[in-house]
Amino acid sequence: MLSRVAESLMWLSRYVERAKSLARIVEVADQLALDYSHPKLCSADLFWKPILRSYGYGEEDIEQLESKEDFHRFLLVDGENAGSVFRALTFARENARGAREQLSSELWEVLNELYLWCKDQSNSSATLNPAVYGARVRQGCLQLRGLIEEMMPREEAWCFLRLGTMLERADQTSRLLDLKTFMPGKDDDEGHAFEPYVWLCIMRGCGAGSQRGFGNVEADWPRLNQTLVYNPVFPPSIRYCVREVNNVLHELSGSALGVFNNEGERNCGRFLAELDLGAFSGEIEGDLHEFLDGVQQSLIAINEGVHQAYSYPADPVVEDDEPEEEEEPEPVVATQTQSQS
């Protein structure tokens, strides 16, 4: 497969995963905000600003937004915000166009239809209902995943799609966990009463809302770590995702687990070992935010290693040209890093 196409496939599924996750957290936060009223803080302070901070938006972006409708539009349909759900789907579609011959026409049509629907929403001035929007986006994204899982041979194309999904999912989980850092917490006057909402927001935002015994809304932080960081079998958990990445990487290179062929595999192996060891205690040592930052850095390192391993190294060196430090070629339209500060 062409290196460019492999890259496009990976980014296609990254953006689909990102759109799904973002649509879900907006939906979840909006619903929770309806239930909770704080004596001093408004829903923007409680939910929306922390979400934007966790996704790495700068304060100047955050200050522009006032009403909850502003936040909804900014995160869901804003064509100017490269981190919005609509833009994620636009990028996904552009990458799919560049790799279209690898995808079934059905898959393309589902993505295209979802994109066209979201485009209509972006152009419409009607008030957005995040529950409706989120449901449509999640349904479309899950349908795409279904088509990939059901219809595609487990060959290279599938591997790169899988890789993108798992890398992005781990990244998304880490961002949502970071809400604990950014949302008002115990130190705050009213923090104690709000704490269950933080916990619910994270669990539901990650799709862990239907875990067994979830009727209990008391914040249970150790359980959060066990479910979303160290769980070996729960798909949104970081450890699960990284192990999947590890498996797919070895499937791609054909080497046995434990044997490392390229930087991507090495970085992934190292990170997975850390998570496996951490799972023994089930606790996060030190500051949560720092830990999550480390997670995101490790994921970036894996991504870079994969890029190096599967793209044609550099253009042939022409004589008397001094070797330049080549910038990494950008994937179609996509920006590699999220709108991160």
């Binding site: 497969m1 279209r100 049509e109 295209n112 793209s311 044609y312 070629p329």
Partner: protein, 476 residues
């Protein structure tokens, strides 16, 4: 009854005689579609448009900030061509492409056609797409044009006429295939009843032609389709054809030339490429040789090509045959190379570069259609009878300034066809682009892209200028 009030226009109508009776080969279409109500027709049209939009069967409109993707409007009244009429067209098209290939081979080698004074040397050398640097370069099978889309029109007096040849990168074949797929869903019974010839063979034939251009020693030839990229207006067609043929679609940046061999960059390293179906114009192919600023091309491609290590379809330099001045000489080429009479005549053409013809053009500008010799897509054109005095005078100046770049033709009244517009069926002007594939055998896909000028009275059928398309049914 949809056809009851149909009034054929002045021009030759494909479906109806002047008396108002339908032509025999349209019987089934008129009877079946006649029963459809305007509402049903609208709903068919909506369904089809929506399905094209969802599939992404779109082209991009340039000069538009958003780079809007639009569908090519589709008219669900099919054009029907009887078998015997098609047989003649087919013979004429094959004859024409054979002559053009011999002409191209000749001017890129001995140039006998110039020595024998069939065409003036200056005409060839001043053609915008003539590539003198390719003279003497041996091309596989001596074949220059493998993929050709010839534009035909029809009028009352002359029958089918060739309007222009497209020997560079003719596009539109995906519409032909997609239109057919859509029509088969809408009118399943008509296909059986009328005996419509299938067009699906196109991609198989195309792959055969491409593979025929290279005979590597120890492996099957590796063919790729080279596209300018996802933002090109015909990108849908590129990816459609590549996936139908099961070949890779590559951009210039996916290819690299080493030791005069072309490779593509894959996840497993470099893989050799033997044949490139390029959908990029000559100018952008190789910045080492042609436009230096081209980011779409592949540096070194022409070196690999000259060394015989890669085949290109179509060959570089074929655009000389698309020049509208060279066009005038094609009937002479047919006589000269094949010793045959042309089966499909040209439209009468006057050259501004010839003194006598120039004065005829100048005297009759308001009656003529003037075309720039190297433009396509309906641009750079003056339709005399439909233009204002000022437009005519502007053109007069342009022609005087560079006579070599203009030709004039009498205004041909394109044939009309029943077309669904504004809740009723009315006559609209059409043309026909059949697709010819020249490999070991030269074949014409039994069908074609019928383009229709949707605006009443208009004769410009280009998609960029308010044109739509129809499915073309060739009968057994």
């Amino acid at each position: 009854m949809l056809f009851d009030n149909y009034q054929p226009a002045e021009a030759f109508d494909e479906a109806f005689k002047k008396s108002g009776e339908f032509r025999a080969h349209y019987q089934a279409v008129v009877e079946r579609l006649g029963d459809v109500t305007p509402e049903e027709f609208q709903s068919i049209q909506r369904t089809l448009s929506l399905s094209f939009l969802k599939q992404g069967v779109t082209f991009t409109v340039y000069n538009d900030d958003e780079g809007t993707e639009r569908i090519f409007p589709f008219d669900p009244v099919p054009r029907v061509i009887p078998g015997d009429e098609w047989a003649l067209l087919e013979k004429g098209l094959i004859q024409r492409i054979e002559a053009l290939n011999l002409f191209l081979k000749d001017i890129y080698s001995d140039q006998k056609v110039i020595k024998d004074k069939i065409i003036p040397k200056e005409t060839v050398y001043t053609a915008a797409h003539y590539r003198d640097e390719l003279r003497g370069v041996k091309v596989p099978n001596d074949s220059y044009v493998q993929i050709c889309g010839t534009d035909l029109i029809r009028d009352e007096k002359n029958g089918y006429l060739v309007l222009e040849d497209n020997c560079r990168c003719p596009s539109g074949v995906s519409y032909l295939l997609e239109n057919r797929a859509a029509m088969k869903k809408v009118y399943p019974s008509l296909f059986q009843e009328m005996g419509v010839r299938p067009v699906d063979v196109y991609s198989d034939w195309l792959l055969e032609v491409l593979e025929g251009l290279s005979q590597p020693d120890n492996h099957e030839p590796v063919c790729v389709l080279l596209t300018p990229g996802v933002y090109n207006s015909a990108y849908f067609e590129h990816s459609f054809l590549a996936s139908r043929m099961g070949i890779q679609i590559v951009e210039g940046r996916d290819l690299v030339v080493q030791n005069e061999v072309v490779y593509m960059k894959t996840t497993r390293g470099l893989e050799r490429v033997d044949v490139i179906y390029r959908r990029i114009d000559d100018d952008f192919l190789d910045p080492e040789v042609f436009r230096k600023d081209s980011l779409l091309g592949v540096p070194g491609l022409m070196r690999a090509y000259r060394a015989g290590n890669v085949a290109l379809a179509n060959t570089v330099g074929t655009g000389v045959a698309d020049d509208k001045v060279v066009y005038k000489y094609v009937p002479d080429f047919i006589k000269y190379y094949l010793d045959e009479e042309p089966i499909l005549p040209n439209v009468e053409t006057y050259l501004a570069s010839e003194e006598k013809e120039m004065s005829h053009i100048m005297e009759n500008l308001d009656q003529l259609v003037v075309k720039a010799a190297n433009e396509s897509g309906g641009y750079g054109m003056l339709v005399g009878p439909k233009s204002t005095k000022k437009e005519i005078e502007d053109f007069r100046g342009k022609i005087k300034e560079s006579p070599r770049n203009y030709v004039a033709q009498p205004m041909i009244s394109l044939s009309t066809h029943p077309t669904f517009c504004d809740d009723q069926i009315s006559p609209r002007h059409i043309d026909l682009r059949p697709y010819i594939l020249a490999g070991e055998e030269t074949r014409v896909v039994p069908g074609g892209l019928t383009r229709v000028a949707l605006n009443e009275g208009s004769i410009v059928v280009n998609s960029s200028q308010g044109g739509g398309s129809k499915d073309t049914w060739v009968l057994y």
